[in-house]
Amino acid sequence: MKLTTKLMVASSIVALGWSGAAGVSSAQNLEAIGAHVAEHQQLPMFDPPGAPFDAAACMADKKLMVVPFSSAVEFTGGVANRMTELAEEIGFQYVHYQTQGQPSQWIQGINQAITQKFDLVDVLMSDPRVLVPQAVQADAAGVKVVAAHAAGFDTAAPEPFLQVSIDYTQAGQLLAEWALLKTEGKANILAITAEDSFSANSLVNGIKAATDGCADCKVTYLNVPVTDWATRMQSSVQSALLRDPSINYILPIYDGMAQFVVPAVELTQSADRVKIATFNGSPYALQLVQEGRIEMDIGESIDWVAHAIVDAEMRIVCGLEPITDPKVPLYIFDASNVESAGNPPQISTGYGDAYVAGYRKLWGLQ
């Protein structure tokens, strides 16, 4: 990160902290929020998460396994596939244990990692807490257990999980800041959460951090568990919009919620007053941005995430200093830049390719 960028972020954070006393609606605070948002509208640059090392040399005899939530889910399956491809490029074995979202399969995967003496097993899922007994067994057998991409910096995974955290708090903060900025500090937000997801806590903390000091704002939280999205999300959002017709922003914390939120907005004929800002950057949600149904979607590149996780895990296995921040960028897509994601939008497209050469240089491959 460039020095000017760091200064800009620092000044934004200071200004946001100050806003708690003075109220967000002051022009100065809105300016700071605007600067913070603008920071994430710049094409991401590669910021090395740690010191360079010779990945090929230290990983030559290592074998790792990833057990995703489901290989059939775009994000977890996509990241797992890319991780195995990256390992092949570097020159070590990274097994993708194929799953279909069933806990019995996750357990089988971890057991296999233990019996086959893998060096590390990564449980790539939204809530690793369901696998603590297996993680304890793996740890006792000398297999390092990582919960990658599961939570933000402010949420610790249970022992003995190691973490590759993502700045979910920042994502939540950006969502709320976007609403504050666009409403000039008069946001009436409906934040849709899924508290059964481990990362939801960090995202909500981010929303709270951005809105706590806003005197003219209102935030209503609607918790819809992941398993109820198809059956409850739409009717719950419709009811919330009818209950409070002054809601002007909906913040679904994951863009997988958007397919139920968009119809709710249409059905209540609220599209002219209610905007949607969300997080994840899934291609179908970016298409809704292109169509004007969603105003903004904070994206994270699957390919970049895969690079960051592999980098952090290689450092764990090689006994290097662990990564505290994998520096996966959060990039804002809105009407001004969403075409860069492709037409129709594609996975990992629109984020630039600075990280590709950056990571290879970091790993001593170039």
């Binding site: 209950r243 397919q259 059905l267």
Partner: protein, 337 residues
């Protein structure tokens, strides 16, 4: 003398019993509607401004068409004594086919819909083939085909949510309104009317009912049991495919998983609906009313800002209480006759 008294006495009691019986039957038939009105009155009193608005009822009616059609599709094989557990997966496959063909391959939306419905027919035939030819219980067959269909859905979609479906479908489903209610409601209502007509006023519908009540008796009576069951499976597949069309038209996108969660609500509505209008029989209007009763209650709870877990309490509680009350009435009916 004694015998005369007894005769007179029993003769005087019969009309009384018959009157109570009829009153109970009528009460049972319309109990669900009365309960629905009761819920509207209750939440109307608690949150008059938001709950009693036309916008609220418009969104209630307009947002449940998919579940109504899925439930209608479910009660067809249930009437003939079969269970189709593949319906929700067929719905998901239908919406995904539309997305893949329309977005991925640039097919016109009408052609994509036609293919989805044709696949619904095909799936119905496959379910019927394995159930009827191999004489396997429909529950087992449709559990298997449902899982298979889910695999196909994941395969053709590459396990991704696909957006960007021709907006004309969304226009035709939720944007265009008649009397302020999205057209999807009228599609569901039209299908319920058609199914009601078939069940009540055609020999086809009556035969399906006979088959469901007693397969062997129906066979001995000359009813083509196999053909009837096959027709019901195909109808069920087509209804699920139509529900998938509306599912895709509701959000303009298709995802490979979420539609599968509609199976249990559809069962709840089918069994709750069987306590109304024609108690003891799966019937289209009963099922439709059941869907809207449940969603009205849930909407009311949401408008009051009550946590979503209470919705589950309401959903499950309403189903069990309604069916239990219906059985209670049935018990009285037996003692009366």
């Amino acid at each position: 003398m004694t015998s005369q008294t007894t005769t007179v006495s029993s003769g005087a009691e019969k009309p009384v019993h018959r009157g109570r019986h009829n009153a109970l039957v009528q009460l049972e038939r319309f109990a669900l509607i009365i309960a629905w009105l009761g819920i509207i009155v209750l939440f109307g009193a608690l949150a008059p401004d938001s709950f009693l608005s036309w916008a609220n009822f418009s969104s209630i009616f307009g947002s449940q068409a998919v579940l109504v059609i899925l439930t209608l599709g479910l009660i067809v094989p249930l009437t003939a004594g079969d269970i189709d557990m593949s319906l929700a997966q067929m719905l998901t496959l239908s919406s995904m086919l539309i997305a893949v063909l329309n977005v991925g391959h640039g097919w016109p939306i009408a052609a994509a819909i036609a293919v989805a419905i044709a696949v619904g027919v095909l799936v119905g035939l496959i379910n019927a083939f394995f159930t009827l030819y191999f004489r396997i219980h429909s529950l087992i067959v449709t559990l298997g085909t449902g899982t298979f269909l889910h695999g196909v859905t994941l395969w053709i979609s590459d396990a991704r949510t696909i957006g960007g479906i021709d907006w004309s479908l969304v226009n035709a489903v939720i944007i265009t309104r008649f009397l302020g209610i999205p057209l999807s409601f009228y599609y569901a209502l039209a299908l319920a009317v058609v199914l009601f007509y078939v069940f009540e006023f055609t020999s086809l519908g009556r035969k399906a009912l006979f088959v469901g009540r007693g397969r062997e008796v129906a066979r001995l009576s000359g009813i083509p049991v196999t053909r009837m069951r096959l027709s019901c499976f195909v109808t069920s597949g087509v209804f699920a495919a139509i529900a998938g069309v509306l599912y895709a038209g509701t959000s303009g996108s298709a995802d490979p998983n979420s539609g599968t969660q509609l199976m249990l609500p559809a069962f709840a509505a089918a069994y709750l609906g069987a306590t109304a209008i024609f108690p003891g029989r799966f019937n289209p209007f009963g099922s439709t009313i059941a869907v809207y009763l449940l969603v009205t209650g849930i909407t009311g709870l949401s408008i009051l800002g009550i946590d979503t877990y209470v919705q589950d309490l309401f959903y499950g509680g309403a189903l069990v209480v309604a069916v239990a009350l219906s059985q209670l009435v049935r018990g009285r009916e037996e003692s009366l006759t």
